[in-house]
């Protein structure tokens, strides 16, 4: 078990290093000179050279890479070529906003998917199960931004129950924070929930066919008790895999949803960076997203081991 932990941690660290090289390399091979882009086409060659020197762009690529990586490790993400402001604090602020959104979305997805998927599996031959199945199929087909627009039209414009957009930090006004969180979190969570429901359904269906569930019933457990005590943990293994993949999707989905709801998250920061040609900012945000996804995968790996004792003895 210890061996497996070390192995997984090693894989995590190596992926981090490799992906940092890739992110850096992608940005480095992009055509165009960041200093020229930042100053505009009319800037003099001297001014461009001065800016290149100022930001260290005149040094060799490996030097630049290690400089950037060292900064990352210290939590210093460098200075924007465009706004000349420190990138770190911005990214940190925006990351918190996006994390709230993603976590709330994931919780909604789980709260929807776990019971709905289980009922669909347990009643897969009855009308109620089929109806839920059809409903989730519709959910799978709806993109998050469309769900967002629909939610705004119904709950903000027609009913006026919730604000259509905006963001308030939780420390400033918790009630307003919650109100403004509900619609974007729902538009992320419901769509992901619909997808997750289908995986929960097939995982539970699989488990329902298992012999040990029959053993559990032969002991005197009623069907639902047997599924609860013996099925859920076994069904959780494939679901956790999908959950990990979905968290990555949610991070990307948040980019779009933040746009729809005018939320100052990491996604909006990334899009702003792209439209302002703020290369270092884009590079940093992409790296933060990559780290988040790798971290999720790492946690998923650990969860496997916690859920399935068979993996603990494997080397």
């Amino acid at each position: 078990m210890i061996l497996r932990l070390i192995e997984r941690t090693g894989v995590f660290l190596v992926s981090l290093v490799v992906s940092s090289v890739l992110v850096f390399a992608f940005m480095a091979v992009l055509p165009g000179d960041p200093a020229r882009v930042a100053l505009g086409v009319n800037a003099s060659d001297e001014a461009v050279a001065e800016l290149r020197r100022q930001f260290g762009l005149d040094r060799s690529l490996p030097t630049q890479y290690f400089d950037w990586l060292g900064g990352l490790l210290r939590g210093d993400l460098g200075t924007s070529y465009v706004s000349k402001a420190a990138i770190g604090p911005q990214v940190f602020d925006r990351l918190q906003v996006t994390l709230w959104l993603v976590v709330a979305g994931m919780i909604i997805a789980l709260v929807v998917a776990a019971p709905a998927g289980t009922v669909m599996a347990a009643r897969h031959r009855k009308i109620s199960g089929l109806a839920l199945s059809a409903f989730s199929q519709v959910g799978v087909a709806v993109p998050a931004f469309l769900a967002g627009i629909l939610l705004i039209v119904v709950f903000a414009v027609r009913l006026g129950w919730l604000p259509a957009n905006g963001w308030t930090p939780p420390a400033q006004d918790p009630a307003m924070f919650l109100k403004q969180l509900i619609l974007p979190a729902l538009s992320l969570g419901l769509v992901q929930g619909a997808v997750l429901t289908r995986y929960v359904r097939s995982a539970v269906l699989e488990v329902l066919r298992e012999d040990y569930l029959r053993t559990a019933r032969a002991k005197g457990l009623r069907p639902f008790q047997a599924l609860w005590r013996h099925g859920l943990r076994n069904a959780a293994v494939p679901v956790v895999t999908v959950l990990g993949l979905q968290l990555a999707t949610l991070l990307i989905g948040a980019v779009v949803v933040e746009r729809v709801f005018v939320i100052p998250g990491l996604g909006s920061l990334l899009l702003d960076g792209v439209s302002n040609r703020d290369l270092l900012l884009v590079q940093d945000v992409v790296m933060v997203l990559v780290i988040a996804v790798l971290l999720v995968n790492f946690v998923v790996d650990l969860l496997y081991v916690a859920l399935d004792p068979r993996l603990r003895t494997a080397s």
Binding site: Y212, R214, T215, R217, A218, G220, L221
Partner: protein, 317 residues
């Protein structure tokens, strides 16, 4: 003494196809009864319908009564059946590799059956689980193990331990040794017999292996095509079979035969629901005549008899 299990006119159908028809079966208190037949003869379905654990689209009809349980088991709701399962009737299944929950410790899986029926407190259940493991000759440390750490034979002994946990009046074993190595089969059989004898539990033992029935059971029922074709004490049935199918089955498994060729029953077991009308065995029987198109009546008593128009061993009478 009352009979523990009384089955009358049991039928099992899937949609309109009959898989088991008109099975009568009685198991006395502490009696060990074998149910033999080839695969597809309906013996497992008979066991599952006694326990009410048939697959979703399979229906049982007829009557199953258990001594001490004041309601009919066929068609009983889950609430009532769940009280009977694991307490009055317990079952050991064929496949030990998949019968245990892979994510739960052995100890928890054994104590669970005692805790569900509140037959013991938590502490007492843990002690009892250790005793049960000792009974099936597994070390006490097995309590903390997970199923994947055990071999097939060890797992089957765990399944036996948890089936015996509440001292059931009836233990049903469905081919419990078929999936095991020959070397551990004898041990598991021995543990089963010892387990039921110690508790004076009755045993319904399902197998296709005649030798196993001969060592474990006192009485035997032979099934073919979803019907009981012959019944009687093991000695009687195995030495003087009356039904032509039993006769063929015995000839096919005669290990002391001097002839070099293996004797077999001609033809194959028809697929479920495709058995002929009348005598279910007539399409494979060398003695069949036009008379066999009618269903043969049961000849003999409730516990000993056969259903055949041309029984073996009459020519000399």
């Amino acid at each position: 003494m009352n009979d523990v299990l009384t089955v009358r006119g049991l039928s099992v159908t899937v949609r309109d196809t009959a898989l088991v028809s008109d099975v009568d079966l009685t198991v006395g208190a502490g009696e060990r009864v074998g149910l033999i037949g080839e695969s597809g003869s309906g013996k497992s379905l008979t066991a599952l319908s006694i326990l009410g654990l048939l697959p979703e689209d399979v229906r049982a009809g007829g009557s199953v009564r258990l001594d001490g349980v004041d309601h009919e088991l066929v068609g009983a709701d889950e609430r009532r059946m769940s009280r009977v399962r694991g307490r009055d009737i317990a079952m050991v299944f064929q496949e030990p590799m998949t019968a245990l929950n892979p994510t739960m410790r052995i100890g928890d899986q054994i104590t669970e059956s005692m805790l569900i029926h509140r037959s013991r407190t938590k502490a007492a259940a843990r002690t009892a689980a250790a005793d049960l493991l000792e009974l099936v000759q597994l070390p006490t440390g097995t309590l903390r193990a997970y199923p994947h750490q055990l071999s097939g034979g060890q797992r089957q002994r765990v399944v036996l331990a948890l089936a015996l946990a509440n001292d059931p009046a009836l233990l049903i074993c469905d081919e419990p040794t078929t999936a095991l190595d020959v070397t551990v089969q004898a041990l598991v059989l021995d543990l089963i017999v010892r387990g039921v004898v110690d508790r004076s539990s009755a045993l319904l033992f399902i197998t296709h292996d005649l030798a196993v029935v001969a060592t474990v059971c006192e009485r035997v029922l032979v099934m073919y095509g979803g019907r009981v074709v012959e019944a009687g004490p093991v000695n009687e049935v195995f030495t003087r079979p009356r039904h032509r199918y039993t006769e063929g089955l015995l000839a096919a498994s005669d290990l002391e035969s001097t002839s070099r060729r293996l004797t077999t029953i001609p033809g194959n077991v028809p697929p479920a629901g495709r058995f002929p009308s009348g005598c279910v065995f007539r399409t494979r029987c060398a003695h069949a005549t036009a008379l066999c198109e009618e269903t043969p009546a049961w000849t003999g008593s409730e516990t000993e008899g056969f259903a055949c128009h041309h029984p073996a061993g009459v020519a000399d009478a």
